[in-house]
Every structure is written in C-alpha cells, then in structure tokens.
C-alpha cells in the first residue's frame, strides 16, 4: 500500500498540494520550443530548472532533449540575470549554432524582474546575435498556471516574434495543437494531408522527440516547424486551434496581429471532435473529405458498434491536462462510458467545467486548480471505485493500491512506451484508444469471471 497515507474522507485543505497533478510552466515552454526546427530552448534561471525539465522530457520521450541555461548564481539573483544571458547567448551561438534561441523565464528570473525584451534588444544592438539568427522569449513564471500555460505562452511567443501579414494571402491554413504527443501531431498532419489541405503546424515535435535510431546524436533533429513557415502563418487564410487552453493564445494572436481568422476547436479525440476538425478544414480550404478518411472513420465506428456492449456503462475517472480531458470525456461519452471524475491541476476557467458537463452530464465531479491533486483524485477513486482510471504515470500508485486498471495518457508517462508513436487523436487514434479500453476491460473480465461464465468468444 504505497498510498496508505491517503485517508478516504475528503477534508478541506487550504495551503497544501499533495502529489501534484500538474507541473510548472517552463517545462511546457521547453517542449513547445523543441517543436521549432533548429531552435534551442533556453531556461533563464538556476541550472536545476533546466536539468529537471530535460530529465522530465527525457524520461517521457526516451530521446535526447537539448536545452541551455543561464546558470543563475547568487550574484545574478541580486543584480539581475542580464550578464548571464548575454554570456549565454554568445556561448550558444559559438558552440551550438542554432537558428533560434527560445528563452523562457523561471520563477527566479520573474521575481528578480529581468526585463528580457530590453536585455535581448541590447544583445542585438551590441551585435551578440549573429546575422540571420533569432533570440525570442516568453514569460513563464512557475507560480502562475501550469506546464500547459507555459506551452501556450511559448507558442504564442513564436507567433508574436515571427508571424507577419505581408498583405499577400497564401492558400494555407494554420494548425495549432495544444500540448500533445508527437504521435498526435503526426496524426493531425495526416488528417490535413489526407484532405489535400496545405497547412503550417506550430509547433511540431514529431521527428524531434520521437526520432529514429540512426547511429548519430543530433543536436537538432529533422523535425520542427521552420522559421519560414512560422513567418508565413501571418498570411494564411485561417487558423484552427485544437484544444482551447493550450492553443487559443497563439491562434487569437494570429487573428489580432495578422488578421488571420481563427476557429477554436476541441482536441480531435473521439469521433465527433475529429469530424468537427475535418469539417473545419473542409470549409476553410474548400476541399472534400476523401474516401481514405471515410474508411478510417468507418472502421473506427464499426469497432465502436461491434464492441459497445463491453464499454457501455463502464465507470471511468480522468485526471490530466484540460484539453486532453475534454477530448477524453467526449471519447468516453461516445462509447457510453460513465465519467465519474475529471481532475486537473491546471485551472482552465469556467468554460471547462461547462464543457465537461455538456459531454458527460451534470453528476460528473469536476475539480481543477489549487488542491486538485492526485491525493484528492485518489480519494475520489477510493470512494466511487471506477472501472478504469485514465491518467499519467503517477496514477499507478493509486491503481495498484485500489486494484483498478490504469490506461496511461497525458504527461508524464515515465513507465511505458507508445505515446510517442501511436496517437489518441483522429479516427485512428480513437481506434487505438478503444482497443486499449477493450483490452483493459476484457482482461479484467477474463481474470475475474467465474469459471462457468468464462467466455471464449467476446
């Protein structure tokens, strides 16, 4: 009983988070920056921050994660980190030669009050930034929001610094995914490509953190949105943001800054959200839905229908990041599963709870933000005993103690592979998710069925 320390009674806590269901902004910013080609994320703070974020992402992706740090010292925390970052910029370009350095702040540099706009202007004025190279920054204080906020801020910062409206429209659409896996980014591209839609996706971590083993260590893997592409986003005909909390800021900014109209959709998880995404692309680009996608949709729907008796009425508890939770809630509802709990350490605003209740009905328990942690989630699970828990690796303590199966989804996943390569988005992702659910449910049924009820054909 690893979590023998979790009492069943839910008590009010005011000052304390136990076993967090979120982490801090900078790691999300680092992940977003990895999704830009030849971009080196830079952490403006103590070197521990950078080491922790790199470790977390490395454990999650099992791939090298490169980022640099301003290595704050006691002096920097008194006199500001300007000297550190100026030195860092010079060293970075001398040694690692990226095209872009994407600086994110930390709680330390935010509290000190480093003015990065001014510092980076100074660096440019003093010729510390080589010709053609770029240094941008995003403000990502750890004491506000969560890793999803950090991701969102960094993506918006790319738009802010690079996207331009040149007055000459390009017949392409912008796709801005929220914090999802490289496999999902690939799947979103696959949907767009199947429809023959010309697009730019920002960011794009596929082929970056799920790179192949080819006998070489690469500082800058093949994938990632290019600077040219980000520039051109200002001339696109439309933006489609997938996952409100993580992607809306960039899409809205493309609207206000470059006059590119945007649509904010849910993450395309499950059949309806995927339909909506496909439909949005169809409308925006004036294309029709190809046979190949109809086949993918049809196959997924076929399995939904075939196996509905096994998913119907299954009780589930969800914990994770808001955008993913909305998608998962939709997926579960479509398969007639009963969502009991939805918990997120990230506070996504009132729209979130409304959306979840639209999807799952009014009796679902939704808790987000302060004290919406794994400890609280465990108490819910103890009391209501779902058939399946969906969440990140840290749910394994809960699920082991309560003997409830866990389907891993979200960030971080430190103890399984798959998320890097196989999506949960799109029709194919829906099929994969459904397969996971069915395997889980049927394995349990096979394990627990009485001998006379033990079935060969299911």
């Amino acid at each position: 009983m690893l979590l023998r320390h979790t009492p069943k009674e839910v008590a009010v806590r005011s000052a304390l988070t136990i076993n967090p269901a979120k982490t801090c902004q900078p790691v999300g910013a680092m992940y977003a920056a990895l999704g830009v080609h030849k971009c080196l994320p830079h952490s403006h703070g103590s070197q521990g921050c950078c080491a922790y974020h790199r470790s977390a992402l490395t454990r999650h992706y099992k791939d090298p994660v490169m980022a640099t740090t301003s290595s704050f010292t006691e002096g920097a925390s008194v006199f500001g980190g300007q000297a550190n970052i100026l030195e860092a910029i010079q060293n970075i370009f001398n040694l690692y030669n990226p095209d872009i350095v994407a600086v994110h702040t930390t709680c330390l540099s935010e509290v000190i009050g480093d003015d990065l706009t001014q510092i980076l202007n100074k660096a440019a004025a003093e010729g510390k930034i080589p010709a053609g190279k770029k240094v941008i920054h995003a403000s990502t204080p750890s004491f506000k929001g969560s890793h999803v906020t950090g991701y969102s801020n960094m993506v918006a910062s790319f738009v802010q610094h690079f996207s331009e409206n040149t007055g000459k429209k390009i017949k392409q659409i912008n796709l801005v995914p929220t914090f999802v896996e490289p496999s999902d980014m690939s799947e979103i591209k696959h949907l767009a490509e199947s429809m023959g839609v010309k697009y730019v996706m920002l960011p794009d971590t596929s082929d970056v953190v799920n790179g192949p083993m080819d006998g070489k260590f690469r500082m800058y893997p093949k994938g990632g949105t290019t600077l040219e592409q980000i520039r051109s986003m200002g001339d696109s005909i439309r933006s489609i943001a997938l996952g409100r909390v993580g992607s809306m800021a960039a899409a809205k900014l493309l609207d206000t800054k470059c006059k590119v109209p945007c649509e904010i959709l849910d993450l395309p998880i499950g059949i309806k959200a995927t339909d909506e995404f496909v439909d949005a692309m169809r409308n925006a680009a004036g294309v029709s839905v190809p046979e190949s996608l109809m086949l993918e949709r049809g196959q997924y729907l076929d399995v939904m229908v075939d196996m509905n008796q096994y998913t119907a009425g299954k009780k589930v508890s969800l914990v994770g990041d808001p955008d993913l939770l909305v998608g998962m809630a939709a997926f579960c509802a479509e398969n007639d599963m009963k969502v009991l709990h939805v918990v997120s350490g990230t506070a996504p605003g009132p729209k979130f709870e409304r959306r979840i209740k639209e999807l799952c009905g009014d009796d679902v328990i939704v808790k987000t933000g302060a004290q919406a942690d794994m400890f609280f989630f465990h108490q819910l699970v103890q009391n209501d005993r779902p058939d399946i828990v969906f969440g990140n690796t840290y749910c394994k303590y809960i699920c082991r103690d309560e003997d409830i199966p866990l389907i891993r989804i979200g960030f971080p996943i430190y103890d399984r592979i798959g998320h890097s390569y196989f999506p949960v988005t799109g029709y194919r992702g829906g099929l994969r998710l459904l397969e996971k659910v069915l395997d889980t449910v049927m394995d349990r049924q096979d394990r627990d069925a009485k001998e006379e009820k033990f079935e060969l054909v299911m």
Partner: protein, 457 residues
Amino acid sequence: MTEILEQRKKQVLENGKDSYALECGKASTAGSVSQRACVFCGSRVVLYPIADALHLIHGPIGCASYTWDIRGSMSSGPELHRMSFSTDLRENDVVYGGEKKLYAALVELIDTYAPKAAFVYSTCIVGLIGDDVEAVCARVSREKLIPVLPVHSEGFKGTKKDGYRAACEAVFKLTGKDPSTPVSKFSINILGDFNLAGETWIIKDYYRRMGIEVVSCITGDGRVDEIRRSHRAALNVVQCSGSMTYLAKMMKDEYGIPFKRVSYFGIEDMSSALYDVASFFDDPEINEATENLVRSEVSALLPDLADYRRDLEGRKAAIYVGGSFKAFSLVKALRHLGMDTVVVGSQTGSSEDYEYLKEITDEGTIICDDANPLELSRFILEKGADLLIGGVKERPIAFKMGIAFCDHNHERKEALAGFEGMRNFAREVHASVTSPVWKYSPARLAMGKEARKGGES
C-alpha cells in the same frame, strides 16, 4: 581535440598530453547544455531517503513535481518520503509572502501523518521574497514537539554540492539527541549510501556478518530515531564523499567520531572498505570474519566475471557520473571486465580527484569536469567508446549513437554496490554491450560494409 567553449577549456584534458590541473567546482558556464542540477536538487536527493520524515517543498509546484519519487531509494518500513508535498506558491504568495501558507501546510501535514521530523526545503523564490522559514519552523517545532528543520536549498545559491552541505547541516541538527539506547563499541554509521535498488541492505548485511553494529544509515532506508543516536557510533564510514564528508567532519568536531572514506563499487574498493573498517576496530574476531566474508564473496564472484570478461575484453568505456569517487571505482571495476576507460568525467569532482583519475587511467584518456552532451558525444566518437555509463539525460544520447549504456545513477534498477553489485554491473554491461540490437544500427552496418570492402581490396 573537439571544439570546446573557451571558458571551459581548462575543464577538459587529455591524460598524458595536457599538464595543467583541471579546473572544477565552477558554476556551469552560462549557455552550455549542462548536465548539472542545482542546490535544491543536491539537498533533496540527500535527505529524501529518510522515510519516516516529512519532506515539504516550499515553493512553486515544479520543484515538488520533478522530485516526486524519482529515485529508487527503498525503505523497509514507512514510505512517507515517496509522497510529494508542496506549498504550491502562487502569484499572491509571491507578492504577500508564503509564511502563513507554510505554517498551515506544516501543521496540517504533521497532524495528518505524525512524522518523526520534518524537513522544509526552500526553493529559489523563497530566498527572494524573504520568508522567514527559520521562524516558521521553530514555531511549528515548539507547537508540535517534533524537530522541524529548514533546509537552505535555494537553487541559485551555488551548485549541487552546496545543496549537499545544506542537507548535512539539517541532518546534523537531528544528531546527538538520544543518549540512552545502548550502542555496541563495534559500531558505525553508514554515511552517503542512499539505498538505491536496496544497496544499503547489502552493505549493512556485510557489516552485520563482520560483527559490527550499524547504528544509522544516513540516509539510505533512513530513520529519524537512528540518526538521533548516531553520535554514539564509534566510526563514520563515508561513501559518496562529495555529499557526506561535510557531515562526517561536523560529527568529528562535535562528537569526536573519526571517519573513513570508502567506496562500495567494484571488488578492490568494496574489499578495502570492509578491511579498512575492520582494521579500525582491530579485533581478532572481526578481522577473521572480514577475511572469511571477502574470501567467500570474491571466490564466488570471480568465475562469473571471467565469463563476462571473455566477451568484453578490449572494449572501451566512457564514464560520466555525478561524483568523482564513483568514477574511480568504475574505472577499476571496468578493468576487471577487460575494458579500458577512454573518457571519464564528473559533475562535482575536486582537483585532487581529477589528479587521481589521471593516475588510474591510461594515456590518451579524456578527463572532464561538468561535460555537456555535445562534448560527450564527440569525445565518445573520437575515442571510439563502446559503452557509456551515466544517468538519465545521457542514456538516449548513447542509444542514438548506437552504443551500449549502463545507468549508474538514480535510475539503476539493480543494486550495483557490494560484491553482488559487481556481478549485477558486469551482467548489465555485458547485456548492453553484446546486445544483438546494435547489429541493426546504421552506423554499425556502415562500419561492417567498410570492413568488408577493406578485406576485399
């Protein structure tokens, strides 16, 4: 040699070629992809294994999230240390101070879990917003009648080493508090083993077989009550010298307990650790028991190693680890497997450590302090290493390059200390180096093609 940042030139040398003393103990050069962590990380890893204490992280959520149960420090009893407690400071707290939140969190946690002691870790911004953590701890300690110890681990206040020091200072406050429980005259404290993969248990068992009482383990499988009486042990045996020598020195000054530095990795170092401790007590029974123990363990181990050695002879290894003491042991352990160390580096070595590394490695070996991945990957290529020994951030670099890897850091899955640890180490290295998966690596395939071409002409 490979291109290196100007400021780092003196932190890398090639044995036999470069005569300067290696620079070390420097903060990482700003802008390098440092593999190093911060003061908080140092304190957290050292104190974390004290399983019946409360560990509360005072700061924004990240520092708690990233250190939640990431080290396999095992406990034979309570597991309170595997929970993650944070004050989760938000913007309001940064503006108005976090003291009230800290007080409320401590009171609530102590009431719920009744820990034997509490550690409160200060993170970066606590140092800036000026919370009086000392005062809050003192107040809670008075009210709840348990030691509540502030750990001054603001991330920016130095390197990981300074974090070790802050941790030692906190632990030291627990010592010297239990004058009555009887303690044998043949007794020691184990300092600097963190019971990763159960290693403390292996070492403890050796001492038990020698007839020596282990009063406390600081901090592997640690307990507050044991630390409270640790001042009455006759000797401190210090492993992982970087982290715990400071505590040993404090205990020497305060309680007059002498200390020995040892390493439990590899055959020589493990054996000399036990002999050193035995010779300290100089008791005929202990001496005999120690000889018997070492003889029986080593004679059981050697034939197994010979099998592995046959396949590993002549292969080359690169080492990049946290502490330099571990690096010494690894160089020696690899020799037992017939492997040469061609690159060796550490995050926290001292200049004497690097001098010693020069002595025990061959000419041409690259020795470096605080390496970054680009350097490491180039050194590995340049020297043709077949194996990298390192931690979580190094693993995928080795694997992408198509060379074998052994985790000698937090994520080790098998005990690597002691004689049986040496057997596990050999097995792990052997399994990775000789794995069939490398055959399919494009780099190896290309090499094979080259070799065949060479043979034809």
